[in-house]
Symmetry: C2
Subunit: 336 residues, 2 copies
Amino acid sequence: MSDRILLAHGSGGVLSHELIRDVFARHFDNSILNAMNDAALLPDIGTGQLAFTTDSYVVQPLFFPGGDIGELAICGTVNDLAVAGAQPRYLSSGFILEEGLSLETLERVVCSMAETAHTAGVQIVTGDTKVVNHGAADGLFINTAGIGVVPPGLKLGPQYLQPGDVILINGTVGDHGLAVMLQREGLAFDSPLESDTAPLNKLISTLLEAVPGKVHCMRDATRGGLATVLNEWTAAGIGIEIEETQVPVKEAVNAACEFLGLDPLYAANEGKVVIAIDRDAAETALATLQSHPLGTEAAIIGKVTGEHIGRVVLHTPYGARRIISMLTGAQLPRIC
Amino acid sequence: MSDRILLAHGSGGVLSHELIRDVFARHFDNSILNAMNDAALLPDIGTGQLAFTTDSYVVQPLFFPGGDIGELAICGTVNDLAVAGAQPRYLSSGFILEEGLSLETLERVVCSMAETAHTAGVQIVTGDTKVVNHGAADGLFINTAGIGVVPPGLKLGPQYLQPGDVILINGTVGDHGLAVMLQREGLAFDSPLESDTAPLNKLISTLLEAVPGKVHCMRDATRGGLATVLNEWTAAGIGIEIEETQVPVKEAVNAACEFLGLDPLYAANEGKVVIAIDRDAAETALATLQSHPLGTEAAIIGKVTGEHIGRVVLHTPYGARRIISMLTGAQLPRIC
């Protein structure tokens, strides 16, 4: 077998079959995938509503402190299902490979996907590989789509946001965005910063069990960061107030943001969920999050209000108020 | 709005939201997508087994005689579900756009996807857009994943192939591969060749109703063509015999193949299904296919045998026998 990806690996012929057998099937190994049908046939998913989502991953570089494109490709899709209240179950994976990519790189990414899928408790059951000529893609792009099951009766979404709801986050913001940026710019060598990439489904199911019926809306704060999630929520006809001093930000993220002229509120996260919850359950929710390894730095950061509808207002430590609007430019391209 | 794709269209900010609203949501318009959740929540799918598949599409050029990348992105995934016996229902779409792509091109592709989805009776319910810097991708790549439902009791797959089964195809081979190649090489101007890109789910459900329990295995003959499908089937422990004169090939495809040094048996199709069926139902199946607009040139092309296990043998018009093996090189890169 060549140690580089050739166009023939995408031909559907002998090399395609070898690549599937020796790399994808070997690491993703499960009985549904191994049947190698045109479509995976899934076991009975039981009661509950189906949830379905997709994301493509184009992060550059492919490997960064705290993660890689493979881990990201599992976590991003798992987290999109989890914040919709779904228990993630099955993933597809579509690879677009650039001719000349080293097989070793591909295998590292595939191993990382397999490990992360195992951690999250999901199976990669169907896939596809295309190869494009050298120069027509940047190494490796991945798409994953995911299927999950929402337990009967669970109602989540911006339409359930109510004035008085408390807003929580499970930890520090901006870690992923800054870790990738510093690595890309060659500034990572003396930085302690690591991406927060993690599958949040177990944290979220623990929370939903601890405060049944109390969570009104959740979203993972990926591209566009915390500020973007909160702005999207205000479209449901509410206002949001955030206490700047309550938003957890690592010292190293703050320093890197100052250096690069970025705002941590807009920087991408890959292991952070923003939660709006009934006021009377906020303290229990906070304690639940803090007792989970992915929520040790969880914090209450603000609240939903019936005032300044459609706007996110930040209270600064100096008593000033600042409107946090939707991101208008491209702060951090190819961050996920 | 800019008339070109900018990096900011992939930032998750204002331009991302405008692109979703003005292009994707406008054309894909349906109530599930319009809810704009992190994950689409699907209606009850009723009884039957879930089928799940994915494909990425990297065809070059984006527009070719008889189709385009958008039509292909729907048909390829719909057909992978249909040949597994599933009724295709819901699709995801993930776009990777190159900075600088014209919005007009994107919108043409999106319109084509919407039209084809309508024809096939599927809904695009969730999606994602990433933008990479100029030069990091070739215009536009699409991934679609699809969910379908297999009616209870339907059993299809290579494991059900039996010696004596008759093999049919719904029309001429190689149309897609050669139409794309001629367009790419600038040779299309005086060719009548068009891609056969089409959603096959309605043809297939008509066939399954006409000969219940008789179809043993189906596959769409895409990358690697008819020869690859037949070779994959022989791995189930059977042999296959094909009559060369019975395989429908357009005169223009034969001529183009001779000119380019290609073999139509390995050339890609995007609207062709290969069917193995119980011998006693073959004539009814043939008549059913021929009475459908996508099967007017359907033909019986060979049979499954208990001899030469693992091999596909072609009988030539001169009485010779030739082994048709798995494709070993990359005959036609970026054909889908």
